[in-house]
């Protein structure tokens, strides 16, 4: 029997009972659509997080004081010493690495900002001119911190978008003076509204030169050093160099933690991919249910078509051929069902994408292939038993309808 004839015969018998066929295809397509939509959502969440990370800056290595893990017990720990702080000089040495493009030292504190009678509490970030590039910020009005001697504490500041609005309303902020703690600063620029990125609202920040921040908060330590590697391949070298320089400068003690943004990103990527797969797997259960449904309906079909099967045998169809006919029916059912499911799933994801434009919803290719393969697989797997049953019918009894 030719393949095309098998397909035609099978589709003929499917069309013979349209309601049943449609219901089975519906079950199959809902299963496939569920996998597609849910994995699209999961993958959308993954992409969302990755994009958020990218907005923090690219090829970043972050140096922070203290160490989350220790290699044995050092004398400092017994004395209850706090980790040595990272200084501006430490930060400057990192620039010696050939893998490093630029750095931005960070000091963070909070202070009261006031202008005339208005005042509020703000997060003050002390940094250098390179922060703008390293953190992918953009300036709205005026200029960012001036480049130059980073040890010089000039009294200039850059305001976050929202702070500027709250203090100055519609007035021009650039060129005005504000009071931060006990010092006066001249506003030289306002950041462009950026919204939230990884939990830090740049709109509510005030940025001052790092030396000014040190004076303001009366410290000399850095909260973090953001190091931007030259390119993706040199991230590891930059990390290694930063660690090495800090090791040397801190008297052979590993008291800083150096993390790469990539490592953090990879962790998130792994977690969210696993989550997506888990969600997709749960959705795939509905495909198994659809498979059981196909088996059930196939068994009924075999029982109903006993005479036809007997006839086919009498007309010269061996058991194998009859089995293949039932396989073809199952394959057609689940094939068309999964196509309909894909359509449904893609429509669903598009609609969700329209409702939540910030979420990049699109089903990952592996989920689409897996869903279709599972649908076809379960369809055929669950038709094995009915098809074998049909193939093994005794022709004499089958013709008599027994």
């Amino acid at each position: 029997m030719r393949l095309i004839d098998v397909a035609q015969f099978a589709s003929g018998s499917l069309r013979g009972s349209p309601a049943r066929t449609l219901l089975m295809m519906l079950a199959m397509s809902i299963g496939v659509a569920a996998v597609v939509v849910l994995t699209a959502l999961g993958d959308g969440a993954r992409l969302y997080v990755i994009n958020q990370f990218a907005s923090l800056g690219t090829n970043l290595v972050i140096v922070l004081p203290g160490r989350t893990e220790t290699a044995g017990i050092g004398p400092g720990m017994l004395l209850g010493q706090i980790p040595r702080e990272i200084t501006l000089d430490d930060a400057q040495t990192i620039l010696r690495s050939r893998a490093v493009k630029r750095i931005a030292p960070l000091t963070v504190g909070s202070a009261t900002i006031s202008k005339d009678a208005l005042n509020r509490e703000v997060v003050v970030l002390g940094s250098t001119s390179d922060l703008l590039e390293v953190r992918h910020m953009s300036i709205g009005i005026g200029k960012f911190l001036p480049a130059g001697d980073i040890y010089e504490s000039t009294s200039v500041c850059v305001l976050g978008n929202q702070i500027a609005r709250e203090l100055f309303g519609n007035e021009r902020a650039v060129g005005q003076w504000v009071r931060l703690g006990d010092r006066r600063f001249r506003v030289i620029g306002v950041l462009e509204g950026q919204g939230e990125s990884m939990g830090m609202r740049t709109d509510e920040l005030v940025i001052v030169p790092v030396a000014s921040a040190h004076q303001l908060f009366n410290t000399s330590g850095l909260f973090r050093i953001l190091v931007e590697a030259k390119n993706r391949d040199s991230i590891e070298q930059a990390r290694h160099d930063a660690e090495q320089f800090m090791f040397q400068r801190h008297g052979g003690e590993k008291d800083v933690t150096v993390i790469t943004q990539d490592a953090v990103l990879a962790t998130f990527d792994r977690i969210l991919t696993a989550l997506t797969m888990a969600v997709g797997g749960i959705a795939a259960i509905s495909l198994a249910v659809a498979g059981v449904l196909i088996m059930n309906v196939m068994l009924i079909a075999v029982a109903q078509r006993v005479k036809e099967i007997g006839l086919l045998k009498a007309l010269g169809a061996p058991g194998v051929q009859i089995r293949n006919l039932f396989f073809a029916e199952a394959a057609l059912l689940s094939g068309i069902g999964s196509l309909a499911g894909l359509l449904l799933g893609y429509t669903g994801s598009t609609i969700i994408g329209q409702i939540y434009p910030t979420l990049p919803v699109s089903p990952p290719w592996w989920a689409v292939i897996a869903a279709c393969a599972t649908a076809l697989g379960t369809g055929i797997l669950f038709s094995v038993w009915p098809a074998r049953r049909a193939a093994r019918l005794d022709p004499v009894a089958a013709l008599a309808g027994r």
Partner: protein
């Protein structure tokens, strides 16, 4: 053509064994026209199924067309049925969702014959059996006689050497039955061995060789025109 030697068929009914056929010896030549008659339960249908390779003998040997077909496997049996044997049933056994021409085409499809060849053979058969204007009708739109004509066309489309008819007129009125028998008898002239199972003496009496069965045995054979 057909050689049955000491063929028996024993069914297990509960813990009893019932012999449907006992030591049947039978030989049928090309172009023979044989009727098998007897009361219900005499084993005539079982014998027909045996000849049609739908059933296997419990003992004995069966030669068909010179080859031993007693112990063929399912695939080989199916091939022999497809190439050598045609069936006509009392209940017609047409596939209800297929049109008349598609029903006739079925054995050709199963045998994997090319589309053009199929179309021309079906065309010819439809014409020969006066069904050309009924080609696209489904079985439930056909009369009993037309349905049996479709079934005969289907049985002959593979040019079988043996045609087996189990009560071919059982579901038809007398006039139509006669018409159907005439069609079947035309095939005998084309060297097809025709074997008809019936309990109607009027039908069975038309055959050249008439076998009478009782209790799984052929008790007598008579030629046409001689009373049993």
């Amino acid at each position: 053509m057909i050689e049955l030697a000491k063929v028996s068929r024993i069914f297990d009914v509960g813990d009893q064994q019932v012999a449907a056929l006992r030591d049947i010896d039978l030989s049928i030549a090309k172009g023979d026209y044989v009727s098998i008659m007897g009361p219900s339960g005499s084993g005539k249908s079982t014998l027909l199924n045996m000849i049609g390779l739908l059933d296997r003998p419990s003992s004995g040997t069966y030669l068909l067309g010179g080859g031993n077909v007693t112990d063929l496997n399912d695939q080989q049996q199916a091939k022999v049925r497809s190439e050598m044997i045609g069936f006509v049933f009392q209940a017609f056994h047409l596939v209800p969702r297929l049109t008349a021409s598609m029903n006739i085409e079925l054995p050709l499809i199963l045998a994997g014959i090319a589309v053009e060849e199929r179309k021309s053979r079906v065309e010819e058969l439809l014409k020969n059996y006066g069904l050309s204007d009924r080609a696209d009708h489904r079985p439930d739109q056909l009369s009993g006689g037309q349905r049996q004509r479709v079934a005969i066309a289907r049985a002959t489309c593979m040019h079988p050497a043996v045609l087996l008819a189990d009560e071919p007129t059982g579901n038809l009125d007398q006039a139509t039955g006669k018409e159907v028998m005439n069609l079947l008898e035309e095939l005998v002239a084309q060297q097809v061995a025709l074997i008809v199972v019936t309990h109607d003496p009027a039908i069975g009496g038309r055959a050249h060789r008439q076998l009478h069965m009782v209790d799984g045995q052929i008790i007598s054979e008579s030629a046409k025109g001689v009373a049993a």
